[in-house]
């Protein structure tokens, strides 16, 4: 089987396993009626809800219905969406199908994650290349400090610090919300910190490897300008580990956005998910998790695809793992 087709099938299988896991945790380990109504609900109310949701049927039958609905894009209806904090959402009534609501939040999350990724990636490539060009210089130390700090800091705390400095003390930027480019700056910076540290470290070590190879000496010998040697010749060949780590970081960004969106009241899928968890809106939570997980799986697949394009020589081993 061609490599990419096999990877695609594996991704589908993983998605299926995840959906089944969501079902098992939601229906078998937990009692949906109890989750949604809380322990203080009366027995009649619980029974009524179980009846409405079809929870009295045998579990395998529920599972088939659950899968059948998902295939048709039906994640159920929201349990208490009408209570949302968002003014435009408040107009809509309870009982709305959850999937369109989840999907409507995607653009905001994409905007945030995309901005953060572009920011982190471009800065990381420049910093990493400079660090590799001048080993043991101050810029090399800076890259080391940034990458160490970025794995040690809690993202939401960094966001709160930025709020304290730029919103509370200096009064330059809004503390949260959505709408203008000013609203985007702080959340994007917060989210970019971690990938910046991780990617710049990988760029640095990949570039150190490449710059010590003979073809670089050859390029220099024939008089290619140094910036061209580094940013064109070497960077192109160092791109595989860089793409891998960027892909990993992108899937991290999608979940990291959850916390950052909560801190900055950014109306993306993460904030919706956290709100729904708080409101015990099980169908919405399930839909949110499935959509985010599907995105993460898709990103991983895209990274593997980028691999084969970037380096056709890569021989894929039989296990289908990354080389």
């Amino acid at each position: 089987m061609p490599y990419l087709l096999r990877r695609f099938m594996q991704s589908l299988l993983l998605l299926f396993v995840l959906i089944s896991f969501v079902f098992v945790v939601g229906r078998i380990i937990g009692d949906p009626a109890l989750i949604m109504l809380g322990t203080s609900a009366s027995e009649t109310a619980l029974d009524q809800l179980r009846e409405n949701l079809g929870l009295n049927q045998p579990i395998w039958q529920q599972y088939l219905v659950f899968l059948g609905d998902l295939v048709q894009g039906d994640f159920g209806v929201s349990f208490r969406y009408g209570f949302s904090m968002m003014p435009s959402d408040a107009l809509r009534a309870e009982g709305t199908p959850v999937l369109p609501i989840v999907l409507s939040r995607l653009p905001a999350t994409f905007l945030l994650a995309g901005t953060a990724l572009v920011l982190a990636f471009s800065l990381a490539v420049v910093l990493g290349c400079l660090a590799a060009m001048y080993p043991r210089s101050w810029i090399d130390n800076l890259v080391n400090v940034i990458s160490l700090a970025s794995v040690s800091v809690v993202q939401f705390w960094l966001g709160l610090i930025l709020i304290i400095v730029f919103s509370v003390q200096l009064g330059l930027l809004p503390t949260g919300g959505y709408g203008s480019w000013q609203h985007l700056i702080l959340p994007a910076l917060t989210l970019a910190a971690r990938p910046l540290g991780r990617i710049s470290q990988v760029v640095r070590s990949a570039m150190l490897d490449e710059l010590s190879k003979p073809y670089i000496a050859a390029a220099r010998a024939k008089g290619v300008p140094e910036w061209r040697v580094v940013f064109v010749h070497a960077l192109k060949n160092a791109s595989i580990p860089i793409v891998t780590i960027t892909g990993d970081e992108l899937s991290q960004l999608l979940t990291g956005a959850m916390l950052v969106e909560t801190v900055f009241a950014w109306p993306g899928i993460g904030l919706l998910l956290i709100d729904s968890l708080g409101r015990r809106d099980l169908p919405m939570v399930q839909a949110g998790i499935c959509v985010v997980a599907a995105l993460v799986i898709l990103v991983n697949l895209a990274v593997d695809f980028a691999y084969t394009v970037l380096n056709p020589r890569i021989e894929m081993d039989n296990r289908g793992g990354r080389a």
Binding site: I29, S152, S205, L254, T262, I274, V296, R319
Partner: protein
């Protein structure tokens, strides 16, 4: 001995010196790497503060004192009490609360890493030792689980089974064993090719004996490095989950929960957010630095440079060669 002598010292001699590794040599190496040394001291103090919080904390952590509300760091309350890191909205001393919070955050990090380590290492060693179907299934599971967003899944499970200390440990074990399994398996595969394992088998050592007395002791140092890093990762995860309200619950308090509470007063009492986060940051930083040091010191290729006493003024920290 002059500096010139030192530079011409043959490497072989250095290797001979490294052969006699003692705990004193390790300690000496730690002393020479100033950053790692400071980190280790910090972690030691933190451990003492966490363990002895009942005795050492200057104030009762849950004692509200309305005459001492919102005292800034290094401030003195109206009743004359000095507060190193200030007080919160109920007049509770932040420094004392941080010490008690350290106990929760650290024990979740340690216990979580320990449980996931035990599960992961057991599975990984068995997979690497017996190969076959077990290895196939296990490594597929590891690949699959590593590809999923773990924070999201942790939130969902905690949402269903409810938050709390014990459930957090359970979740961390469930979602973090893979890193240990992956490393334990590759280490086992690596070591199994060595002659000493063949020799142990030749003299009739049982599988159990080979694994317990030959394989595991040789795998300890890289696993300890991973363990240290994992503690940092778990402390950060715990903070995130507690911040979102699905981790530690009041009246227990962790650093993450303290940030979540302090957030309400972000415009008036910045220290309620800054201090607990700084504690998390410094702890994770120290753990990462100590892990980096431990990795360098246990790497056979470069440890001779660390374990032999310095003859040049500076010892380069080098991760490329």
């Amino acid at each position: 001995m002059t500096a010139v002598d030192a530079q011409t010292l043959p490497q072989d001699e250095a290797h001979d010196r490294a052969a006699a590794i003692t705990s004193r040599a390790y300690f000496g190496a730690l002393m020479r790497d100033r950053v790692a040394f400071v980190s280790a001291i910090f972690l030691g103090l933190l451990l003492i503060a966490a363990l002895g919080a009942d005795l050492l904390a200057p104030y009762e952590p849950n004692q509200a004192n309305l005459r001492a509300r919102f005292v800034p760091p290094l401030g003195t309350a109206r009743d004359g009490g000095f507060h190193l890191l200030g007080t919160d909205e109920l007049g509770r001393d932040l420094f004392s609360r941080l010490m008690h919070g350290a106990r929760v955050s650290m024990s979740i990090g340690l216990l979580g890493a320990l449980c996931s380590g035990i599960v992961g290492i057991t599975l990984g060693v068995l997979a690497g030792f017996y190969r076959g179907l077990l290895e196939d299934v296990l490594m597929r599971a590891v690949d699959g689980m590593m590809a999923l967003p773990s924070l999201l899944i942790a939130l969902f499970i905690l949402f269903v089974i409810g938050p709390g200390f014990g459930n957090l440990i359970l979740i961390f074990t469930l979602l973090h064993w893979m890193v240990f399994a992956r490393m334990a398996r590759s280490l086992t595969l690596n070591h199994q090719q060595h002659t000493y394992i063949t020799a142990a088998r030749a003299i009739g050592g049982s599988d159990r004996r080979i694994i317990l007395t030959h394989l595991l002791p040789n795998m300890v140092s890289p696993l300890i490095v991973l363990f240290t890093l994992e503690i940092a990762v778990l402390i950060l995860s715990e903070a995130s989950l507690s911040f979102l309200g699905f981790g530690v619950q009041a009246p227990q308090s962790s650093w993450g929960l303290m940030i979540a509470r302090g957030r309400e007063y972000i415009s008036s009492a910045w220290w309620l957010v800054v201090m607990p986060g700084a504690a998390i940051f410094l702890t994770a930083l120290a753990l990462n630095l100590v892990a980096a040091w431990a990795r360098a010191i246990t790497d056979p290729v470069q440890r001779w440079r660390w374990l032999t006493p310095p003859r040049r003024k500076s010892q380069p920290i080098d991760d490329e060669d």
